[in-house]
């Protein structure tokens, strides 16, 4: 202990013996506190490894049987013990890409709206409302998709697109239920928008006003200030935000499983049924009877885990590397 500290304890008026006890208690307390904090930190770190290990361990039977070919094989026949994640990877890619391509620009536009366009009072109301979208539980969003969105899409959107643009393979023949890759992609878009929008909004807010003033003073229109100054300055952060949104879309199991129609084939038709890695696990695991079936689903989990972690790490790396401080927990 420092001289000042020992002086302090002595000055407290107690006898030497009491201050000795107090110092012992203090040292013990300090060590104990450090200890449990360290324990908690190790627990947090250990949890990731534990989760990873358990998923891989659960997938072992399937990994042993199918090896890496599992990733490209497109047969999924539980009754015959044949499993391959090709269709699922395809569905995951299509739905996530759709959500990002449609939701990304919308979310960025919302970020611009909230920071540069809307009057302060309006932005203070709309901002939290957009975040509220993220707070809706995915099962309720999926339920809404099932009962409201899918019939609507099936009645109005899919036939219209099919009739007018049906020569493009993605706008093929619609399902009778509206449960399709398209509907699932729309639901994912809704989920992805608030994440990207709120990070983008923070980024745009952080662009120094002097830069925007300087641009405006050169006779630039509002859009030119955005295009020339705001967007380029924040581009790496916005990209990181989009990748985080992508990660969210990749891992969504429940809402997707409710509206995607449980298809089993690769097809270019957005209006047909499909499945994703996450949705497949949600749909089939409760009913998976054989160990191989379960292991195959765990294998899907492994792939999902790898993709999800990569997306997260990539977002964080981009942010750090190009100047936006660290990935953001939302």
């Amino acid at each position: 202990m420092s001289a000042a500290a020992s002086a302090a304890t002595r000055m407290s008026g107690h006898g030497a013996r009491v201050s000795l006890l107090r110092r012992r208690a203090d040292r013990l307390g300090d060590r104990a506190m450090f200890g449990i904090c360290l324990l908690a930190a190790l627990l947090a770190g250990g949890t990731i490894f534990l989760v990873g290990y358990q998923i891989v361990h659960g997938a072992m039977p399937a990994i042993d049987k199918f090896g890496l070919g599992f990733v490209t094989d497109t047969t999924w026949q539980p009754n015959f013990g044949k499993f391959g994640a090709g269709v699922l990877l395809f569905g995951t890619a299509i739905t996530s890409a759709f959500a990002l391509l449609l939701g990304g620009p919308i979310a960025i536009a919302i970020g611009l709206f909230l920071t540069l366009l809307a009057p302060k009072g309006l932005a203070a109301v709309i901002g939290p409302l957009v975040e509220l979208l993220a707070a809706i539980p995915s099962v309720i969003l999926g339920f809404w998709g099932l009962v409201v969105l899918a019939p609507f899409v099936q009645e109005h959107v899919e036939p219209f697109l099919h009739d007018s643009l049906g020569f493009i393979p993605i706008f093929g023949a619609p399902q009778t239920t509206g449960l399709s890759v398209f509907t699932a992609s729309l639901i994912l878009t809704i989920m992805v928008i608030p994440i990207i929008a709120s990070i983008s909004r923070d980024l745009f807010r952080s662009v120094p006003p002097e830069l925007q003033d300087g641009a405006a003073a050169l006779g630039a229109t509002r859009w030119e200030v955005v295009r020339g100054i705001v967007l380029p300055t924040t581009s790496s952060g916005v990209i990181a935000a989009c990748i985080l949104g992508l990660g969210r879309a990749l891992g969504e199991a429940i809402a997707v499983s409710q509206v995607i129609g449980a298809g089993s084939e690769i097809s270019a038709n957005l209006f047909g049924p499909g499945s994703t890695l996450a949705a497949q696990i949600a749909l089939q695991f409760p009913g998976a009877l054989t160990e191989l079936h379960q292991a195959a689903l765990f294998y899907c989990g492994v792939i999902l885990l790898v993709i999800g972690l990569l997306a997260n790490l990539l977002a964080g790396w981009i942010g750090r590397r190009f100047g936006y401080g660290g990935a953001v927990s939302r």
Partner: protein, 312 residues
């Protein structure tokens, strides 16, 4: 107390000064050179009167300008004319509204919440705050350089070329950039590293880059808001030399808290101060005149106090 120098009185006070123009309109150039006038008596006397070759016109004519931010009044009843091709300095202690006035000239105060302007600011006879005025057009013609250099995080070339590209001035862009950088006395220092980031330049160089950026689009007016206050003395000197060389091409209005700078650089100087007679202190224009007169024989005692360093 008459605290404003009304241009209507100017003729009385500056009697016979051939440089004083009539109020607003551009005068047709009087015949150049000496004129001979014959007095009505029989005595032949030759009087030689020199008339100005071109009457300096008013680029800005501010009349009764008062500025409010919400309930707070920042500026009261400013009548000020800015003449073409000259450097006009706005001096005065901090917080007396000179920057507010400057920024009102190119409508940079518009986004400030609660901003309200009374009176009128005429630019070449057009009301800057008129209903059919496009703010972006105003700023295109009336450029501004800010107190703290604010180069874009782009290359030196792109900083200067950005606005011309927006405006569609794409042909001869390289020459335009070079001319602008030369005009800002920066060309020789950066000509070999135009692709380098502008953020790598020194403070003084960055400010000259901002000036180059502003003159690249050939504005009519340059507004400089304390352009050298964030710079060291050597860089400040470079900026002041620059202003002399830019003077003829552009009309320049500069806000400075440095009196000596105004004395060195400006043709005319306007002294602002806080008027404390009313319920709350409000920025006011105390006096405006030729720089030499403001510093040598100021009319208002407050001006005298300020320029002699008694306060400020």
């Amino acid at each position: 107390m008459n605290s404003r120098l009304d241009l209507a009185n100017a003729d009385d006070l500056l009697q016979g000064d051939p440089q004083v123009p009539s109020r607003v309109r551009v005068q047709p150039p009087a015949p150049a050179g000496p004129t001979v006038s014959t007095p009505p008596t029989g005595v032949t006397e030759t009087t030689v009167e020199m008339r100005p070759l071109v009457a300096p016109e008013l680029v800005f004519d501010a009349r009764g300008v008062s500025i409010f931010y919400g309930a707070k009044q920042a500026l009261a009843g400013v009548d000020l004319g800015i003449r073409r091709g000259q450097i006009t300095a706005l001096i005065g202690p901090s917080g007396c509204g000179k920057t507010t006035f400057l920024r009102s000239l190119n409508r940079m105060n518009d986004p400030v919440p609660g901003f309200r302007i009374e009176g009128s600011i005429l630019y070449h006879g057009h009301d800057v705050y008129g209903s059919d005025v496009d703010r972006v057009e105003v700023r295109r013609r009336i450029g501004m350089v800010f107190q703290k250099p604010n180069p874009f995080p782009k290359s030196i070339y792109d900083n200067v070329a950005w606005a011309p590209r927006n405006l569609g001035l794409r042909r001869g862009l390289d020459e335009r950039v070079e001319q602008a950088l030369r005009g800002a006395a920066l060309w020789d220092e950066v000509k070999d590293r135009l692709k380098d980031s502008a953020l790598g330049l020194s403070g003084g160089q960055q400010q000259r880059l901002c000036i180059a950026r502003a003159i690249a689009i050939e504005p009519d007016v340059l507004l400089l808001d304390e352009p050298a206050s964030a710079l060291d003395p050597i860089a400040t000197g470079a900026i002041e030399d620059l202003m002399h060389s830019l003077k003829g091409r552009f009309t320049i209005v500069i806000v400075t808290h440095n009196m000596q700078q105004a004395a060195r650089v400006a043709d005319r100087t306007a002294f602002f101060s806080l008027e404390t007679a009313g319920p709350k202190p409000v920025g006011t224009l105390i006096e405006v005149d030729e720089t030499t007169k403001i510093f040598a024989e100021p009319r208002d005692p407050r001006t005298r106090d300020y320029v002699s360093g008694r306060f400020g």
